[in-house]
Symmetry: C2
Subunit: 375 residues, 2 copies
């Protein structure tokens, strides 16, 4: 008897809406997962993250294995207790961030050895160690350990990397074992080459996973190329399993990916933008550093119900951004995460009502019309 | 008919407890006012500040006149609306911070001209301009404009500075005029010299204020010298008016000052300490950067009911402090402000029960016993 389930309640074109059920809670899909890199969604308390509508967070294995360390985290009762978040957590495998953040990497068939960017100490990751770390963290949704080639890369390099990732996916599946109440997701690789993506998807289906992620996108290939991959990859994956597009993305990326059959997303954009004075709204991106906001008494978005928009003017946000106050990061991150969750709720409702095309058209029209005119 | 009132409900020795009533709300005394320098209590949302038990905030005229500017603030509806805090606000006069923060000061009988530390622009403050700025900000409790000599200073310099401040106090009173629902406080100066403090207090009584502050302390003179001044200064002030000790202080400073008849306090210590990994607890100061906390599953203070102590371990706080995460500032500031407000509530209850001496003894015993022993 499984203690996890994925239920598709409604479809609209290739898009689906439903629920992913785990012992720690239900995830409404399509879902956006805020990123809690180092056991915190930056500038937010967990209760506030939940208040935006988030059902699940993402934690980064690479960061957490280095600090505070996986064994220490286990002794402290796991990541949920540590960071005071009792709902589901998905952890990445560490593979992508080893490639993008660590120093002195040495990659072999067995795994990867690297030096910590925090203190220079030497560490090792492999499919087996990644599964162990994610178990020690207490992750609800575990990602298979994979490898991402640095771009630009030749098609041969992309193919070789993908095939290594598929061998690692099989080892991840084997090492994960049988853990009721927890899910293991495989990750489709293969760059922007259809044959490689389909070969990867077939390999993962052959191994068998609880869900399937699409990796190696949102790394600079552009939206057109990304949507190109999404035009065929979801269809190469089991229909009855959740599909997760890793590291994506901008609001319009998410709308387009949902239309192409993706169920789950994560991205640092809303939180990172919030810490640099950038707001993401239904009218596009708003730079609060801009002097045009200095005496604007209006909220960021008059129609938004978040605490930032109901409590503060653009003039205040401009002031605290310019003054470098911590509350600027707190308020803008809250708004941005709220906006993302409202967008997901809108997408879910539109799919349920069979009105996703109209929803996407209205979304584009509002976004392309741009920010409020000056007062 | 006055719309403000100070009511002393109980006394214990020289200490008093009661309420200071203003149109925007009631302030329970003895009161601690968190500092909201630049229209934010750093790393806190206003609702969270209120949740700690704060009845009133302090705003800094110097910072706010430079950014966003007093006239702009008035056009935006005043400081309360700007920062989303609808309860009372006390603003300082700008005098002290001009002396400690601004560049190229030029001091005359008329006032002080200085360059902004933000952008180098030239500004002017005088009793009349300070009253105007505090009116534009919408301050509920306005402080008279005074001057603080840089220490060390000769007794002659302290005396001359105090007498200038008394002339400025009279001009402040004149410029403030009659503003129902708002209060003007005078500020006793005179360093650590009893004759000068008594001369200053007599001058202020002659002018007549709604409340009386004791300034020029907490500038490095030490607790013994400060308590020395507090042994006679409160008694030189009208008994039926609130007494405010500016910029103080550490928890034991506050307890000693309350025992000597002080009703109001402000200090950056709890918020500033929170941003540098320091917690203030009933067992003294705890440095969360210390590696001894790295695997400590206990809360900072097992008896504290704040969200930090009920939700997070010392291990987590150590982790986020070391990682430089914003949540470290948020959680430690919240705890520190909560602790200060709990201390004030304890002092008020002890005075009401006629048990202040016992309360102070227990406070000292717990503080001097030190932090929890290692796990």
């Amino acid at each position: 008897m499984s203690t996890t389930a994925f239920h598709i309640a409604a479809r609209d074109g290739r898009a689906r809406t439903g629920t992913l059920t785990l012992p720690r809670g239900e995830i409404r899909t399509p879902a956006f997962m805020p990123v809690g890199t180092a056991a915190t969604v930056k500038a937010m308390l967990p209760g506030s993250v939940r208040a935006t509508g988030a059902d699940i967070l993402l934690g980064n294995t690479y960061h957490l294995m280095l600090r505070p360390g996986a064994e220490r985290m286990a002794r402290l009762g796991g990541l949920h207790r540590f960071m005071n978040w009792d709902r589901p957590i998905l952890t990445d495998s560490g593979g992508f961030q080893v490639m993008s953040l660590a120093d002195l990497r040495k990659l072999t068939e067995e795994g990867v050895t690297f030096k910590s960017h925090v203190d220079g100490s030497t560490h090792h990751l492999s499919p087996e160690r990644s599964m162990e770390i994610q178990r020690l963290l207490g992750s609800d949704i575990v990602m298979a350990f994979d490898e991402c080639p640095a771009l630009p890369a030749t098609e041969e390099a992309v193919a070789a990397s993908m095939r290594l990732s598929m061998r690692w996916a099989a080892r991840s599946r084997e090492a994960f074992g049988d853990r009721p109440g927890h899910m293991l997701f495989g990750i489709v690789q293969g760059g922007v080459t259809r044959e490689l993506r389909e070969e990867s998807a077939a390999a993962l289906r052959g191994i068998g996973f609880d869900g399937y992620a699409i990796g190696g996108l949102a790394v600079g290939e552009g939206q057109e190329a990304m949507f190109g991959v999404l035009d065929y990859t979801p269809g190469a994956l089991p229909d009855d399993r959740p599909r997760y597009l890793m590291g994506v993305g901008k609001p319009d990326d998410i709308v387009g990916a949902v239309q192409r059959g993706v169920d789950m997303f994560d991205c640092v954009l809303p939180s990172r933008s919030g810490r640099t004075g950038q707001a993401l709204t239904r009218r596009g991106q708003v730079n609060l550093r801009n002097a045009r906001h200095a005496e604007d008494p209006r909220p960021l978005d008059p129609d938004c119900t978040c605490p930032t928009c109901t409590g503060y003017s653009r003039a205040y946000l401009h002031h605290v951004v310019k003054a470098g106050e911590i509350i600027a990061s707190m308020l803008l991150t809250w708004h941005n995460l709220h906006y993302y969750q409202e967008l997901m709720a809108g997408l879910r409702a539109a799919i349920a009502a069979g009105r996703l095309t109209e929803f996407a058209a209205a979304f584009d029209a509002e976004r392309l019309a741009g920010d409020l005119p000056p007062v």
